[in-house]
Structures are given as C-alpha cells and as structure tokens.
Amino acid sequence: MKIAVVRFPGSNCDQDCLRALTDGLGVRAEYVWHKETSVSGYDAVILPGGFSYGDYLRCGAIATFSPIMRSVVKAANDGLPVFGICNGFQILCETGLLRGALIRNRSLLFLCQPVTLKLENNRTPFTRLSTDGSLFRMPIAHGEGAFYADDQTLTELEEGGQVVFRYVDSEGQATVESNPNGSRNNIAGICNPAGNVLGIMPHPDRSWDARLGSDDGLQLFQSLADTLLSVAA
C-alpha cells in the first residue's frame, strides 16, 4: 500500500498529512511533486491544505491546471480514493470532481478554531470504520471555507447522501451557532456520487494525535488504510 501526498507550490499541510499517515498510522506515504504527470502506482491520493500557487486568482483555481491534476482527475474517475483537505477540497471543487464551491467565510475573516462534526455517510473509503451520527472534533483554519451550492445542487447532494460531514454543536445539532463559516446546510465535507472522492474543510491532519487536543481525525486515515488493505486482500 502506498499513498501519494501531492505537493503543490504553496502547499503547507503536506508535511502534516505525510506524518499523519506515516507516524500516526504507520502506512507508506510519499510526496508527489505537482510537476509529475502520473499517480499510477499509488493506491490513494491526498490533496493537502495550504495556499497552492498562492491561491492567486481563486483558491485552488491554478492548481487545477497543474500537470499532476490531469492524472488525479482521471484516476478519481476510475475509482481511486482521492481525499482533499482544506485547500485540497477547494481544488477538488475547482476541478469539478466535487460540486459546489468554497467562498469567503461569513465573517470575512480567516478562522482557526476547533469545530465539532457529525458523520452522515460512512459508506466512503475514508469513513467506513466510523458509525453515522458519530461526532468528530477537529480544527478548521481557513478564510474561504463556506460551502456554497445552488438550491438544486444542494438538494441533489443531500438526497444522494453526498453530505459526509456537517458542522454541529456538542449535541450533534446543526445549528446556526455551530456553523463557523456560513456553509450552506452546515456542510463541512462532501463526496462524489461514487464516494471515492472526499473533500472536507476541517483538518484530520491536525487531529490525529491526542496531544493536539484530539485524535478523532485519525479515524479517517484508518478507514482509508483499512479500505486499501481490504482491496488488496
């Protein structure tokens, strides 16, 4: 098993993602430079957070044209697990692998704080070891993390079970107060219809070690590793 962590110029969670996989989980993971043209040989791809290409133009927009992304999009369409975190989620929306967009936070300010998430779809490769309805504690750190989609898209995402994580309060209720950034329907993470592409704004790569206040994020990487092992078996 070998997982790729794509490094774009301006990625800054690449090291955290790699450590979560190698130190946190003990699986093999490698950096793949954005100028590479293929992800073949890898069993899954992580698009880490950061400010790819300085987030100039629009968050994630330029990364879409990076040589490696052509291969990532093709592999995703062929069913390879692809996990976008923060800026990685933004990139997935820009490429069209995921629907909707991430826009400026409601407060218009960058926000770094812990949030509580509720899992609503454990049928993805990244969530299969967790139960629906379980709560996760993770930090967010973004300026443009408000999920937006038009009404029809939103309905389709909801009805298609593509909403994977929602911002909730400690009781598991998706309230206005528990929505840190103004995301529609408190959406924190969505997947594609097939479930093999997941994008989330909060950081499992910063919540895989109890010393950091939470190790809830490790479950996502564990699920991914478990999926890959069961595929290989």
Binding site: N12, R19, F51, Y56, L109, C112, R206
Partner: protein, 744 residues
Amino acid sequence: MTPIVTPELVRQHGLSEEEFERIKTTLGREPNFTELGVFSVMWSEHCSYKNTRRELRKFPTTGPRVLVKAGEENAGVIDIGDGWAVAFKMESHNHPSAVEPFQGAATGVGGIIRDIFTMGARPVFLMNSLRFGPIEGDSETARKNRKLVRGVVAGIAHYGNCIGVPTIGGEVYFDESYNGNPLVNVLCLGILKRAEIARGAASGIGNAVFYVGSETGRDGLAGAAFASRDLTEESKADRPAVQVGDPFRGKLLLEACLELLTSGAVAGIQDMGAAGLTCSTCETASRGGTGVQIDLALVPKRETAMTPYEILLSESQERMLIIVRSGQEERVKEIFEKWDLPYSKIGVVTDDGQMRVLNDGSVEVEIPAKQLADEAPVYQRDVAVPRASDPILATKLPLHDPSDSLLQLLRHPSIASKNWIFRQYDHTVRAGTVVPPGSDAAVFYVREANKFLAATTDCNHLYCSLDPREGAKIAVAEAARNLTCAGATPLAVTDNLNFGNPYRPENFWQLREAVEGLAEACRRFETPVTGGNVSLYNESPLGTIDPTPTVGMVGIVEDERWITRQYFRDAGDAIFLIGAVGDEIGGSMYLKTIYGKKAGRPPRLDYDREFAVQKFVRELIRTGVVKSAHDCSEGGLGVALAEACISGQEKIGASIRLPASHERLDVLLFNESQSRIIISVAGDAAERLRQQPAGARFPVIELGSVGGPKLEIDTGETIFSWSLNQLHETWYSSIALALSQQDL
C-alpha cells in the same frame, strides 16, 4: 542624472558632518551618490546600532547551551539536547506598520522567518507582541487605532497563515502612549540539527555569489533609514519605504533554501532584509574576512531603468544571497528551477576585503566591507533622569465597588480575551500546538526533534514607564514565571527594545535603565540573551511611547506529563496561592483602568523570592499533582482567579476564602505584587500542601476550591460573587465588540 553629493544631500541621508568626514577617511576620497546611500543605510540605527551598541554589550550572551551568540549571525541558536538546536529571534516592524499596517506587519513576519531559515532552521512557530492605542470610543484616534489593529492582525495572518508557520501566542496591549505609533514585534523559532547550523559568511575566495528569490523592485527603498527617524505627519509620504510581502514566494524561498542547505552546496547564506543587497553583501564579506564583488546587470529586476542607488537600497522582500561552494553551482540551478524561483550568479568572493559593485562595466561602489558593516560610529548619548512618580496612597482614592472593578478590568482590551485576534492566525498548522494561544505560555511539540518547547512574550509597559529598570526586570521574571506555569524550564531570551528618539536624554535614560534591568535579570535567571532587535524613534506628534523592552523567552518541557495550563479543570480541586497576597498597587492596571492613573511606584522584584516560588511550582508540577498553574499579573489575584475560571474550553467556578489582610479590599484583590502563582491540585495533594512547612521565602495559602456556576470570593466581611457567564461574556467579547464597529 546622478545627484552631486552636497552637504544638504548628506544631511538628507541622516548622516552627520562627523560621519561624513569618517566616510571620506575610510574611502580616502569623497563618496559618490550611490556610496552615500550605502553608508546611510548601513550606518543607520537600524543596521548599525550606533546609539545602542554600548548598552547592548551589557547583556549576558553566553551559557552552556548557547551555540550562536547574539550579534554573531542572523539569529541566536541554543542547544536543546539530543543533537537538536533552536534558532529564535524577535524583530520589530513598528514604523512600517504605522503607515501601512497590513504590509508593514506582513513583511515583519516574512523578515523574521527569513532570519530563522537563514540559520538553516525550519521555522516551526511564530509569536507576536503588539501594542496599539485605545480602540474603544468614537474619537478619531480610536477609529485610527481600530484600523491599525485590523490591518496589523490581517497582515500577520496573511503572511503567517500562507507560509504555513503557526502563530501560537504572544500578547496585545492597548494604551494611549501607543497612539500613532503601534508596536509590532514578531518572534520566530526554528528547529535544526546542531551540527547543521548555516553561516552568513562569504567564505572561500572564488566562490560564486548567487542572488535567489524575488526580483528587485523599487519597494522599500531605504526602509532601514526610514525606521531610524521619528514618525511625523509626513511619514505617510514615505509609504514607498514600506515593503510589499508575498508569502507565497516566501514559502517557495523557504523550501528551496532548506533544500539547498541540505545539499551541501552552500558556503554561506544571508537574507536580504533591511538595506537589502547592500547589507547582505558587505556583512557576508565582513564575517568571512573577504571581499565580495557583484555586477548589478546580473541582478534580477522587476522594474526598468533602476539606478544603482535604487537596486542597492531596495528592500524588496523574499530575496537571499547565497555563497556557493565552487563546483556546486548546478545544484542551485536545479533546486531553484524546481521551485520556479529566479536565481542569478551575480558575483564572486574576493580576497581584497572590498564590497565592490559593478555597473555597466565600471565600478560604482568600492568600500572596505568591514568598515562599512562593523565599524559604524558608536555613540554614547546623554541621559537625563526624569522626576520619579509620586507614590500612590490607595487610601486616598475613593473606593470603587470591587465587584464592578473586576468586570471593568476583564473588559479592558489589554486583559480581555484575544480570541478575535488569534482566531485569525492559523495556530494549528504543523500539527504541534499542544497549548494554543490563551494560556500563560504556549507549548509546541516539535515532532522532528521529539521536544516540547514553551514560549512567551512579556513586557508590562506601565511598570516600565514608571521605572524602566524595575519594569525590565519584571518582564524577565514574568516571562520565566509564565514558562514555569506551563511546566517548562526557561532556557534563553530574545529581546525587542522599543523606545523613543535616543537624542532625547530622558529617552536614552529609559533605554539604559531598561537594558541594565534586563541584563541583570537575565544573568540572575541564567537565561542569556541570544539576539533581538532595537527599535528607536517610536514617537509621533502625539508623544513618545512608554518604554517597551519586550522579552521573548523560550523554555523546554522535559516531560510531556508536566505540560500545565492556566485554567481550572475539575470540581473539588483545591486552589492554592504560592506567594504572598501582596499589596503593591503602583503602576497597576487597576489604577489605570478604574482611576485613569499611570502613577505610583511599580511592584518590586525580589529575586530570591521569585526563584523560590518558581522552583517550588516547577517541582510540584513534576510530581504530577498540579492541575493548573496561572501567574498573577495585570489585575492581580482577582483577574487571575477569574481567568482560571473562564479561559478553558469549559468554564468552571471557584469558591475563594481570602482573609482581608488589607484595609482596602480593592488592594487585596487587584494589587500586582510579583512572585505569585495560583495553582489547583486534586484532594490528596492538597493535604500534603497544607502540611508543607511554610517556606522562609514565601507562604503557601489555601484559597478555596474549584467548582460551581460562579466565582465567589469571601473576604470575611464581604462576599463577592460573579456568575461565570457574566465574567466570560465581559472578558471574551470585549475586543470583538470594539472592533466590530464600522469605521468608514
């Protein structure tokens, strides 16, 4: 057309007649216009410390852990064991932030990060110490201050968040003395192997000199000279002297340089910060005992028709000078092309000791590098001792309801929660922040080295304005106390000396007093000063700032289990005060907030008592019984108790019995006597503490217990009670409320 060097032009460059004479002696001729510019920036206060060098020599700079001393390189380096070391330093960007807060603060962050990776260290965290004028009210000044706060915070967030270095703590103060002249002091710490410290020397005659990073433009022209003047109404016209930061380029440069450093191709590396190309060439040559010759035609530029003067004095950001071992030049090409960054071989290391700059085939600048970089004139400025503030007799002040006073103190933006600010900083990237902003000290797990580091910045400007020597000593003591409360052992200090115009004798007296206070305290605490920064001329038409010798202190927590936070945790835990109840009210936030007085004699520091209190708490933490530890600082015992109740993730109350040992309850609650720490411990440990024989140096006072929905203080004659929600709301929302006002 190159201007002719006239006495008027010399004056405009901030050089005195004597300095000009010295330049002529050094050169053996008159300088040309470009050389005049070069001397003016190198001999500015910012680069040469000409007015403060004699004072800075008073600092203790050596110690068993010091690997790179203050002033030797871009940042000091200390040993943290197991082959690992940390490089850290604090630097100011006060003047740029005053005229252009967003870019001023952003480039301050970029600059200090470059100083750290120049040492070969990977930057792992940032902190900052910020000071602004008051932000409450409708006055024009308050509006301006709010704009400065928003701009500075956004600028720090912009750079730090993008480059991916977490901002894990610091301090923010608000006071009239900073009207028109905010302070932006940024600290960065990086991790490196002790065997891999990079040096900023141009060594190896014949080695190539490379320019790497962003192209040179006209931004930030002579910023170092700008920072060495008072701010005036006309300072806004100096906006071109403020640099523009590009954190994306900064991130690429960081990664490319660290990659190049591990390749073994680098003989020397120096960041182009203040005074840009000028400073980096003459300093590397001076350190190497060599010369450097560069050709301006080879410098990457982003604007056309730039004059030699402009190229040499530009402070464009995200640039480095690298001396490459001969035969290794291909490595530079490979790595910088990989990171899509400009690079250019612009010159060579020579053996003649000259900084020589070629332009269009002819020599434009030829100055002995050592004399330029290290032999700026050094001055002893005059001092004048101001009249001391009269002591304050608390009994003469009308008593204000202590119940309301606590709320007013918690509402004061200097004491109130800084969440509105630190939520805008990414403080969790790099997955190492164990104690985030909002406790006495931040604690960060440096994963690559398997070390827990604690850091804090401290300076009480009220004490310093009333007694700079005592205030500076207390800044060191408080920093050490904060680290102790976090479970850490203090290691070393970086300082940022912020003062007014040194040509005013009373200002220079403040500086000298503060330096001597810092030096003495650092010696006593065995925390050597490993570097820092001096920022003078912090005055505006509204006045001079309070003397602000900010202390950044780094410590190590040797065992993860010792990491301690400031807030109460479990109901039923017993609360103890380690140290005396105290009675010193001079220079306190209480006097300032409730009576509008910045007066009296600030508290005194008793070293022996301070050491004893800190040692006691550190050792107690190591026994594993301490649930929380919080130092008493601004607002005294009252504020410290309230903070211990409301600053954690979950609020929790406390019942306190505080025998009225003083005739005034406000003095009891809000005095700021030093050397006091509030701890909470579980029941069985409490029993042992009760039986602790009272130490000769300090008492151990049982204050009460943790739990309940309110903070209750029973003084024997009065019972004060505040609901947790009231305390929390007052404290938590104050800054956000002030800043949410629309200021068009």
